[in-house]
């Protein structure tokens, strides 16, 4: 089975964010970038499928600027992906889901694939659009919020469930298709030290930025950090009854949560 995984570098959760000097975007100098959390699950899921379906290959693709994009590709190779393609974006390129989806779809269209796996959304913009847009651009079925993805070899079908607002749906799909993954079977694995060393020497195919790329669907105007939240209110009490009485009064009279 040929599996393509689309991954994106995002700021590490613990990083201290800062706006660039013109305020238009995140200051990349101050940020440590890592493989996005759901993309880590997508890589894990691809590797699990590879381990269960003999002869499978996992090809990881990312669109973005140097050096962060190359780094998440190397991290994916260290985890066990077989092949990597880096579609270079100019450092000025906006963080735009449609721009990314077009670049990814263009690279995927020229390779053989049975499955394209994406994280359901990235931890920076939380847009959750790329998987669906890649599916539309490739002209193959796409599914979001997927869990429990399996390959039914007898019927040559993927089976999976989708988490929706009203419950879970059971689906099956024939290859090729695109899946926006919510969760792999396992917690993502950790790359081992020898694999990390080996990944530094791995060949990464580079696709130069496409000059004809259509403009971004959206361009952010300003990037600013949210104002610090005011402190929490602590209720002083001696008995649980007193705490509840005071809490109800605050909810009713100050927060006006209910009349």
């Amino acid at each position: 089975m040929d599996i393509v995984v689309c991954v994106k570098p995002v700021p590490e959760a613990e990083t201290r964010l800062r706006a660039s000097s013109d305020g238009s975007k995140l200051d990349p100098e101050a940020v440590k970038f890592v493989l996005a959390g759901y993309d880590e699950s997508a890589v894990e899921q691809a590797l699990l499928l590879k381990e269960t379906v003999p002869g499978s290959k996992v090809h990881v693709i990312s669109f973005g600027p140097a050096p962060r994009t190359e780094e998440v590709l190397r991290a994916s190779i260290a985890l066990g992906c077989d092949q990597a393609t880096w579609i270079e974006a100019s450092p000025q390129a906006p963080n735009d889901p449609l721009l990314a989806a077009r670049a990814l779809a263009r690279a995927i269209a020229v390779v053989h694939y049975d499955l394209v796996l994406c994280g359901k959304q990235a931890g920076d913009d939380e847009a959750g659009l790329v998987a669906a847009a890649v599916g539309e651009l490739l002209g193959v079925p796409d599914f979001g919020y997927v869990v429990n993805l399996r390959w039914d070899a007898g019927r040559s079908r993927f089976t999976f469930r989708r988490i929706t607002e009203t419950g879970e749906e059971s689906w099956e799909a024939a290859p090729p298709c695109v899946i926006g993954l919510q969760q792999a079977w396992n917690d993502p694995r950790t790359a081992k030290l020898p694999a990390i060393l080996k990944s530094r020497k791995a060949q990464i195919a580079r696709v130069p930025p496409d000059a004809s790329t259509s403009p971004a669907s959206s361009v952010p105007e300003r990037f600013e950090l949210p104002a610090p939240r005011s402190g929490a209110k602590f209720i002083e009490y001696k008995t649980p009854e007193e705490a509840a009485t005071k809490l109800v009064r605050i909810l009713r009279e100050e927060a006006k949560v209910f009349p």
Binding site: P67, E71, R74, A75, A78, T190, A191, K192, L193, P194, I196, L197, R200
Partner: protein, 382 residues
């Protein structure tokens, strides 16, 4: 121009160690410290990720890292728990004599199967009669035909109760002093190898430290490293290699102490403002961060010197000595910053002081480091 930036490869190794330290080690550090539990499941995971036999060349199944990369990893591990780190890196110390003194055949035969699975090894040099006076050790090695017979006792041996392999230093003739010392590789399974009790320690309580007795232990001559009398040089060259990562270990403790103190100083309010706004605390933090930076840079410099192929005796002694003194001082000031809370076991800083203390003592006491530093220094003036 000197360049203090790390390569992307070095950063990714450090990230691996940081992730392991913070997710696998840190959550168990307080519990293992309290109960003196030896968390073998954590050491096994460290092995699985390639964080254990860092200095063993890759061709023999180790990670084959240079000194600087080892230091980056060790600092991260020690940030989470110095005791666990000591047990994780004890293999590096125990196996270095084989790397330095072993023949190609011995390395293949001894290192490759050892590194192929999770196993612990111990470096057995120190004896009850003294550690710093290594030339005066009393464990005897008597030659009998195609083997030696070892008799004696070693103490303060890291991982001794759990090790499957020991590198043992014994003398073929005590009258020869350090010129009689010879290095051997002894499997735990050899008859007469008797690990003793686990010592109750002040710090590094997740690590295991014990005695090993050798009673009429037969060691084939093929398991002798180098020739008769070359053991002392092998031991000293080993410590030249492994001393620098102890500087990194101490730096990790110091960084943890600084982070705890700085974080607490922003939250703790006295006289109507966070104590970080009181100059007395600012001065403490300023001194602490200087010590941490200096410890790290001296360690990196020693590692860089060794990685360029130099012996680095002076540099590694400076790094180990300075960083361990800094760790104790920074941990001490961290406790002072926490005030009464810092003295309580409920808070993490008193453990750092207890852990830091050992770094001034083991792998060459700082008194020995200073005499080495002075000897190396004065050589340039003679």
């Amino acid at each position: 121009m000197p360049d203090f930036s790390l390569t992307l490869e070095q950063e990714s190794l450090r990230d691996l160690a940081r992730k392991f330290a913070r997710t696998e080690m840190a959550p168990h550090a307080a519990e293992c410290d309290r109960t003196a539990r030896f968390p073998e499941e954590i050491y096994r995971k460290a092995y699985d990720l390639g964080l254990m036999n860092l200095n063993v060349p890759a061709e023999y199944g180790g990670s084959g890292l240079a000194s600087l990369e080892q230091c980056l990893i060790v600092e991260e591990l020690a940030y989470a728990c110095a005791g666990m780190t000591t047990s994780i890196i004890a293999n590096c110390l125990a196996l270095e004599p084989i790397i330095l003194g072993g023949s190609a055949e011995q390395k293949q035969r001894l290192l490759t199967p050892f590194c192929a699975t999770y196993q612990l090894a111990s470096f057995a040099l120190t004896e009850p009669s003294g550690g710093s006076d290594a030339g005066g050790l009393r464990t005897r090695a008597r030659r009998e035909g195609d083997h030696y017979v070892l008799d004696g006792e070693k103490c303060f041996i890291t991982n001794a109760p759990h090790a499957s392999l020991y590198t043992v230093f014994a003398t073929v003739d005590p009258n020869l002093k350090h010129r009689g010392i010879t290095a051997f590789v002894v499997p735990r399974s050899a008859s007469g190898v008797l690990p003793g009790k686990d010592e109750e320690k002040m710090g590094h309580r997740a690590s295991s430290t014990g005695t090993v007795r050798f009673e009429n232990v037969q060691v084939p001559t093929t398991d002798r490293l180098g020739e008769d009398g070359e053991g002392f040089a092998i031991a000293m060259r080993t410590l030249d290699q492994t001393r620098t990562p102890i500087g990194a270990l101490a730096t990790g403790i110091a960084q943890a102490a600084l982070d705890h103190a700085a974080g607490y100083s922003l939250k703790r309010v006295t006289f109507g403002k966070p104590i970080a706004e009181h100059q007395a605390i600012q001065i403490k933090l300023a001194n602490m961060v200087q010590a941490v930076h200096a410890a790290r840079l001296l360690t990196w410099h020693a590692a860089w010197t060794i990685d360029r192929g130099a012996k680095g005796t002076l540099e590694s002694s400076i790094a180990k000595c300075f960083a361990s003194d800094a760790a104790l001082a920074v941990a001490d000031e961290a406790i002072q910053t926490f005030g009464g809370y810092g003295y309580m076991k409920e808070y993490p800083v008193e453990k750092l002081l207890r852990d830091a203390k050992l770094t001034q003592i083991y792998e060459g006491a700082n008194e020995i480091q200073r005499s080495v530093i002075a000897r190396e220094l004065l050589r340039d003036y003679q």
